[in-house]
């Protein structure tokens, strides 16, 4: 269905690919990257950021699902 979230069967938010839960997860994921860069230094790539988050029990399931889907969809270098 066109109106479904790309990650689950819930209706997506206006102007977004995702439902409200995954949209919030995406917002948090993007907002926190700046803090991680400050913490680990500018050398931390987004891929490293995502890998670290996937390995942490504190990371929310919706965030992990978003990262996994983005990694799968990424074009191989």
């Amino acid at each position: 269905m066109v109106d479904q979230c790309s990650l689950c069967e819930k209706p997506r938010e206006p102007h977004s690919k995702y439902c409200s839960l995954h949209e919030t997860a995406l917002t948090n994921l993007e907002a926190q990257y700046a803090n991680w860069l400050r913490a680990f230094g500018e050398g931390l790539s987004k891929d490293e950021y995502f890998s670290k988050l996937l390995g942490l029990s504190e990371t929310g399931d919706a965030v992990k699902r978003l990262i996994t889907r983005n990694q799968k969809n990424a074009v191989p270098q």
Partner: protein
Amino acid sequence: MKTTLIVTEKPDAALHVAEALSGKNQAKRISVNGVPFFEVKNGERILVCSALGHLYVVAAKGSSSTSQYPVWDCSWKPKHLAERGQQRQEKWIQAITRVSKEADNFVNGCDYDVEGSLIGYTILKYACNGADKKARRMKFSTLTERELREAYAKAFPNLDFPLAFAGMCRHEVDWLFGINLSRALTQSALKASNRYLTLSTGRVQGPTLRFVVEREKEIQTFVPTPFWTLRTKVDVNGRIFEAAYETDRISVKRDGESIVKECSGKIGAVERLESTTYQLSPPTPFDLSTLQSEAYRHFGYTPRLALSIAERLYLDQLISYPRTSSQKLPLSIGFEEIMKGLGQIRDYQSSVRALLAGRLAPHEGKKEDPAHPAVYPTGTVPKRNLSAQEQKLFDLIVRRFLATFGEMATKQSDKATIKVGQRIFLLRGSRILQKGWIPFYGPYAKVEELAMPKLKEGDSVKIVEIKLEDKYTQPPSRYNPSSLLKEMEESGIGTKATRAEIIETLYRRGYLKDQRMIATPLAIQVIDILTKYCRRVVEVAFTRELETKMEQIEQGKERREYVVVDTVDYLKPILDELKGKEEDVGNELTSIIREMWLGSITLFVPCPKCGSTLKIIKNPRTKKRFIGCSGKWKTNCTFSLPLPQLGALTLLEKRCPECGFQLIQVKSRGKHPLVSCSRCYVSKAGIQKPIPYTPVHHTKRK
């Protein structure tokens, strides 16, 4: 001789009332149609009967189909006419009605609160032919002889109608909310998915579930932030102590590494020594929610379990009425007498002796309850062996009571500031100077002491170990039954008597899992739908507003009829909208219901032959059920296992201890649930040769 009929709430209470009023004579147990009554002849004839909780409940007027909604007309009906399987209640009502014909006077002797007033009122009004108008009301907080005799002698001339009407109003409003919203959800789902699943919500249930769902969403969308801490050990005169860096969190890794480099193996100097002395107040007496919270903290008892144990202790005359909001202990309860009673129990002898040597003045809290004092032990020694759970809760209540009479405790907190180059480290210690109330609370007083070395300013301290530790911010904690109850109380929803039960209902409905609460996908979906289509029913504000109105009814400042009419006016447009959008609501629920249905028929262990999913299948021709392999069409796998053909079948989330296969449970009416393993059944019966089940294939369903 005139006859008085006293209605109590529970059979145990009826016996205590009868014994208390019998004086030197023995209370006689009589049976009317199999229902026990107690007869006392002490200058007058007193008959004491008990209810079985509510004998009358709110139900739809006339006959209403369970699929029909909205329903606005309700009335009070005998429970056996409103609900199935209540034959015992029918017998009870008939017996009370029969006995009431012999009575000239009537007394409501149910527990003194909204529910007790309502139980007594409805029985007297409906079962005793309108005796509510001439009935008196007993008020007591313990079931001790002294208090019961006094409560009977000084009974109020009339029933506490405001309290009973507030109770009626609560039941009616909750019924209007529950029946209409739950039917709207259930029927929408049924029409869209063709599968029946009871979906319930209610006036308090909705906002309570929303707390957990909101928390669940915060956890699911949580992105941790890294930070670092320093684990530092210092050598002070050959003894090793743990020191803390001046800031708890270091947010940049490089900064932490610099500190480690700068300070490793260095010698610092004590720059400043500080000591603070402060007092620790004794705990306040238990109100119900604090008792439930402490019982959860120390024993892991859910609020509902703690309340039910407390009620048993109350019925055994060991403690006062537990459904109280009060943290006050009035002088009239007789502190000294209670202490002397407790002094007969060996475990409390020394505490009682110490307390009786001083002035008895409890350290009361702020909360008040016009009906009852705080929970306190009556001083009665248990007459039977208490169960382990009862013993623990009784001990907690007694020690808490004793501790409230203790003196202030005094604690000293010490801090040494150590300078290493430009960096500051802190050494902390604490010790109890005066124990005060602490020993009286026994194992439940957790006051930590931390050893601190003797130091003076200028002393040298060597850093022997300094390590940078990776840490991450934590998502918000999950609710547990105790913290959710606290949240409900702070938000002003529900009552002290209903909160614990509402939490249990959320578990029963499949909305919550585990002690550290996880909101299930069904709960998230239901709350999302309610938020989308009728946001106000899951918001705290409206529920709190209704609670205030019900309190006003209790105080005689508001009328029950107006509150019920207001509720109908409020719900009507919401129900109209839900009815109009039934299809949309149903469609949004379909996927989750399908998922739940699949979950209920899909095993979490894979097929031992081909690794495909195993499912419960029903043969359309023979109607017999069995476990079959879903790989049949792909791999030609013919693996199957038999299942019991009778009873309700549930797939358990447990494995067979012998073969590791998933266990099933079958429940037939009137019988104990039967848990079995289909694989072991087959191999033991010799129907099929056991196939080795390699644990490697086991997958755990998320």
